[in-house]
């Protein structure tokens, strides 16, 4: 077979290749409402580091934290690092970013919401920036498909709190996300690694359900404002606690009988064998009163 023009051969090849399966992917487009029943977003007690694989520095950083620091303008946005997509209360609004020429998928975008910066997961294989590049609250994210799993890696994000006022990640941290869609459910597994504040990877999951009736109120990225006049009258004031002086250090122990050594976290606290260290030290608290009180009743709310 002889072609008069090389272009015809090329076109033929393109057509034939397009009939071959390329790679498996799923559509993540839509608004996904969080539906998992877990304590990702709970923060009843100021010192609750249970199961967090904090390093010694990470624990010291967590125990120095006074929530009033969030009112300092330069710190107001540190509550919204990329991990906030998993621990925050808001749904995920995911959309496709098409290539302007070919209309093929260039990136997935998770819209900014409730002060969390938007996340653009570049799918075109572009490299991450130099380690000297500026960091943002949202960071820089690339993604790729592994079968029907979307794996995304985020770098270049600023210091931020990682589980609703419980512990921090540094600006050297990275997050690897796995997005698994199962029908109308989307499971996101986040693996946070930080050479500064974590001794081992910190894994969190969240489950979302696709909704056709989203309660949407997208907000802009975090915008610092003046919250506490005293902080602005005295810019040198940074709310904090000195080592060993956190006033809520013993709150979990007093409320739930959980030994302080467990409350302060560390990688050993997230493994099953840690239960052996607790067995002779722990006594369940008295029953919770029906009207509420210690421990919280929970239920069908």
């Amino acid at each position: 077979m002889k072609y008069e023009k090389p272009g015809i051969a090329a076109l033929t090849m393109v057509v034939m290749l397009s009939a071959v399966p390329v790679v498996a992917q799923v559509d993540l487009t839509g608004t996904w409402q969080r539906v998992a029943q877990n304590d990702n977003g709970a923060s009843r007690e100021p010192v609750d580091l249970l199961g967090m694989p904090l390093s010694a520095d990470g624990r010291a950083k967590a125990l120095s934290y006074d929530i009033a620091a969030l009112s300092a303008t330069e710190r107001q946005c540190q509550m919204y690092p990329p991990m906030y997509a998993i621990v925050g209360p808001f749904p995920l609004q995911i959309s496709m970013v098409p290539d302007p020429i070919t209309q093929k998928l260039l990136a997935w975008k998770i819209a900014g919401w409730g002060d969390r910066d938007e996340t653009v997961m570049w799918m075109d294989g572009r490299p991450h920036p130099s380690k000297f590049a500026p960091h943002s609250h949202g960071g820089f994210t690339t993604g790729e498909w592994e079968g029907d799993t979307l794996t995304a890696v985020t770098t270049h994000f600023k210091l931020g709190d990682i589980k609703r006022h419980r512990g921090f990640s540094s600006d050297r941290a990275t997050i690897t996300y796995r997005f698994n869609r199962h029908g109308d459910l989307l499971t996101v597994t986040g693996l946070l690694e930080d050479p500064v504040y974590l001794a081992e990877p910190f894994a969190l999951t969240e489950v979302f359900r696709l909704t056709t009736n989203p309660n949407s109120f997208p907000l802009t990225a975090c915008e610092p404002i003046e919250e506490l006049p005293t902080l602005h009258e005295n810019p040198a004031l940074v709310p904090h606690y000195l080592p060993g002086k956190h006033p809520a250090m013993n709150e979990m122990t007093e409320r739930y009988n959980i030994p302080l050594e467990a409350v302060l976290g560390g990688p050993e606290t997230m493994y099953p064998e840690y239960r052996k260290r607790l067995k002779d030290k722990y006594v369940p608290p008295p029953p919770v009163a029906p009207a509420g009180g210690r421990g919280g009743r929970g239920g069908a709310q």
Partner: protein
């Protein structure tokens, strides 16, 4: 131009014939689930307890149902929780049933019982789950009421199914051209879906939060291999109980693979700890 069109059409026809022939000719017998496994779940896995620590690692106070949605009827049952009564009845394993078991801190030992059955042993509570694959062509949901004759057990009857990546991709989802040095995309992997019924009524939490025998448990087991060689497992767990849960309970416990069973620590069920 008409010549170009003819070539293109011919190419499409050839491609179609080739694929049609592949479907018609020399039909291959379906491979056994073990041989067809798109992911390897076998080995020892340890649960990573970074979520719900206060309700999983220790026995919470009676009446502490924070973070779990239950009906008023369930609340009455839970308020009557009496571990001594469970012990006397020989029901120390009520909090180790399949709807709760994967959230119990411990280790899993996953093996193939035979070519169609995955066996999941736990050291916590010394329980065993059998995840049985049916006919490749039979959706597992079609057997919804089938196991009703079998005796109800803590682990129930689990039907398993491999979910493999779809071979065809909608055009708009195909990735844009990648840079020359980008790693190639890998059309690999898969997921395990498990539906469990015929359960004996038990507890979602150690402190007596109940699930009924009409509970249906649906799980998706997803495996991740990291560049450093680590393997992680997330089990998306959906518990539906028309009696005690107003909404499906969804959690996703995480496990990390261990190189061997040196930390395997069989421990009997306990109604109190």
């Amino acid at each position: 131009m008409s010549r170009v069109l003819c070539v293109v059409v011919a190419a499409l026809i050839v491609c179609g014939l080739v694929r049609l022939e592949a479907q018609r000719g020399n039909p291959q017998p379906p491979r056994a689930p073990r041989a067809a496994a798109p992911i390897d779940l076998t080995g020892y896995w340890v649960s990573i307890v970074t979520q719900d620590w206060r309700w999983r690692m220790v026995t919470p106070a009676k009446g502490d149902y924070q973070g779990i949605q239950i009906t008023p009827e369930a609340r009455k049952v839970a308020d009557a929780w009496d571990p001594a009564k469970d012990e006397a009845a020989g029901e120390q394993c009520k909090s180790y049933g399949a709807p709760a078991l994967m959230s119990v801190p411990g280790r899993l030992h996953i093996t193939w019982q035979d070519d169609t059955t995955i066996k999941v042993d736990t050291d916590a509570g010394m329980q065993t789950r059998f995840l049985r694959f049916g006919s490749v062509q039979t959706p597992i949901d079609s057997a919804r009421d089938k196991p009703a004759d079998a005796p109800r057990t803590w682990q129930g009857v689990s039907q398993a199914q491999w979910l493999t990546p779809r071979p065809n991709v909608p055009l708009q989802l195909r990735p844009a051209d990648r840079t020359a040095d980008a790693p190639p995309l890998r059309p690999t992997g898969g997921s395990l879906r498990v539906v469990t019924r015929n359960l004996r009524a038990g507890y979602l939490r150690k402190n007596g939060v109940p699930y009924s025998e009409n509970t249906v448990l649906t799980e998706h087991w997803d495996l991740y291999k990291r560049p450093n060689g680590e393997e992680w497992l997330t089990i998306t767990t959906q518990v539906e109980d028309p009696q005690y849960l107003p909404n499906a309970r969804l959690v996703a416990p995480v496990f990390k693979k261990e190189p061997n069973g040196s930390k395997w620590d069989p421990t009997p069920c306990s109604a109190r700890w």
